[in-house]
């Protein structure tokens, strides 16, 4: 092999080495690009999730503030006016000598007392802080009592396992979810019995609301177009996800509805 051949061979080797390096470099860049892109997608999903959580949180806060405002108005304003009416009726009752009129005043006074009690009960139910302060079980019991008081429904609350308190915010969200479910039952289910079960285990908390109403076609409801779709089920789903839970609906036409919310307990 003469000197030109040696030089050519070396040049060829150098070029091949540089070409291989270039290809290797491109492969590395493609790998890094894919890795960064996957991180970017993950970041985007996390941000979207955070954003949705914040929107939902804001929605809940606004809803809570509005309901609290209405509850306060009912308690402080309407409740006070009703109390004044009750006092006036008592005075009137003492002043009236006619027995028939007096009996009518006593009846009216009783109705008024019931109205005052209902207004107070409703104002408590509207107050989200009630759930935070007195706990989920008491708040739900209070709501179910209120529904039972209408005389149209039988209600029941059951507890299984060793009860414990959840985080205040979670209890408040769960309370609102159950309120949403109860509203749906009252509006659409035509049920006679409503049963709420709270199941406590160390690893999971689950809450079941069951009615014996007419049920519905879940697939059809979920598949409805936006203009026909109600916000109820979507709200339940979003709020359950917000507290890190999952929800299951078991329903069919004529067979009632059972909604179960499961919440993992993080130690």
């Amino acid at each position: 092999m003469n000197s030109i051949d040696d030089r050519t061979l070396l040049a060829l080797m150098a070029i091949c080495f540089l070409l291989l390096m270039s290809v290797f470099f491109i492969i590395i860049i493609v790998g890094l690009f894919k890795k960064r892109q996957s991180e970017h997608r993950q970041e985007k999903i996390t941000l979207q999730h955070q954003y949705q959580q914040e929107i939902l949180q804001a929605q809940l806060e606004i809803q809570n503030q509005t309901l609290q405002q209405i509850g306060r108005e009912l308690h402080d304003n309407i409740g006070q006016l009703l109390s004044v009416m009750s006092i006036n009726l008592d005075i009137l009752e003492e002043d009236v000598s006619d027995l028939k009129t007096r009996s009518q005043i006593i009846d009216t006074s009783k109705i008024l007392q019931q109205t005052i009690a209902d207004v107070r009960s409703l104002s408590k139910s509207l107050d989200g802080d009630f759930a935070k302060d007195f706990g989920l079980v008491d708040s739900l019991s209070h709501d179910l009592r209120r529904i039972r008081a209408t005389g149209k429904y039988q209600t029941e609350i059951l507890m299984e396992g060793e009860p414990y308190r959840l985080d205040g915010q979670k209890e408040f969200v769960l309370f609102r979810i159950v309120q949403e479910i109860l509203t749906n039952i009252l509006k659409h289910a035509e049920a006679k019995t409503i049963k709420v079960t709270l199941h406590y285990t160390p690893a999971q908390f689950s809450l079941t609301v069951q009615d014996d109403g007419k049920g519905f076609d879940n697939e059809a409801v979920l598949g409805r177009k936006m203009e026909n779709a109600g916000a109820g089920l979507r709200n339940i789903q979003r709020r359950t996800e917000m507290v890190g839970g999952t929800y299951i609906i078991e329903t069919a036409r004529g067979q009632g509805t059972k909604i179960e919310i499961q919440l993992p307990i993080v130690l």
Binding site: T8, A14, I29
Partner: protein, 209 residues
């Protein structure tokens, strides 16, 4: 004429046609590269004509190299505007080309190996900068949806060959001294001009919009 030379010009013609066909949808850096492609095609045809009719065509490359460097650098600068020194380098490269053509590698008699080597090293640097910025600003677009990625891949492979030849002082050989080297050189040329076709047809995404 060798079939490799014909293929070389056919790929260049394809790149020019791809550029014309897609010109309206090309982004600014790719438009600059399209004009480089047009210039390259014409310049290579002229070089071929002169070579067959007059023998010596090296002076063509004394003009081609600074123009190619200017357009490539400007195209990358349009994507990497924070690196203003890229623009200043164009001016310095022209001065270097003139001095080199007068004193070190006379433009009428010698091939401009110094220019080619410097151009390759600098454009490789711009490619590294481009990939660095691309990795910093990753989004939903795919890797090959950036026209400058195509150009960078083509140029990187082309430059690897040029730098390899330059290291052994073979760039100023008028004819490649062996068939192997000639074939490698032809291959890198095909890769480079095919990358232009890819750049003109791909999605026109930019790192910085």
């Amino acid at each position: 004429m060798k079939w490799t030379t014909i293929l070389y010009h056919v790929i260049q013609l394809l790149a020019v046609c791809a550029g014309i066909y897609n010109y309206k949808r090309l982004v600014k850096p790719t438009k600059v590269l399209f004009w480089l492609m047009v210039y390259t095609f014409i310049s290579e045809l002229v070089a071929l004509y002169i070579r067959f009719n007059f023998g010596n065509n090296v002076y063509i490359y004394h003009l081609y190299n600074p123009i190619q460097y200017s357009l490539v650098t400007y195209a990358f600068y349009l994507e990497l505007r924070q690196y203003r020194f890229m623009l200043y380098s164009i001016f310095l490269f022209w001065i270097f080309a003139i001095v080199n053509g007068i004193y070190w590698e006379p433009f009428l008699t010698m091939f401009c190996a110094n220019l080619s080597m410097t151009k390759s090293i600098l454009t490789t640097l711009w490619i590294f900068l481009y990939f660095y910025e691309l990795l910093k600003n990753v989004n939903e677009h795919k890797f090959l949806e950036y026209p400058l990625v195509w150009i960078s891949i083509g140029l990187l492979i082309f430059n690897a060959n040029l730098v390899g030849l330059g290291l052994f002082n073979l760039l100023n050989q008028y004819d490649p001294i062996t068939l192997a080297l000639s074939n490698v050189r032809s291959f890198t040329n095909y890769v480079l001009y095919s990358s232009f076709v890819g750049a003109f047809f791909c999605h026109q995404n930019l790192v910085y919009k």
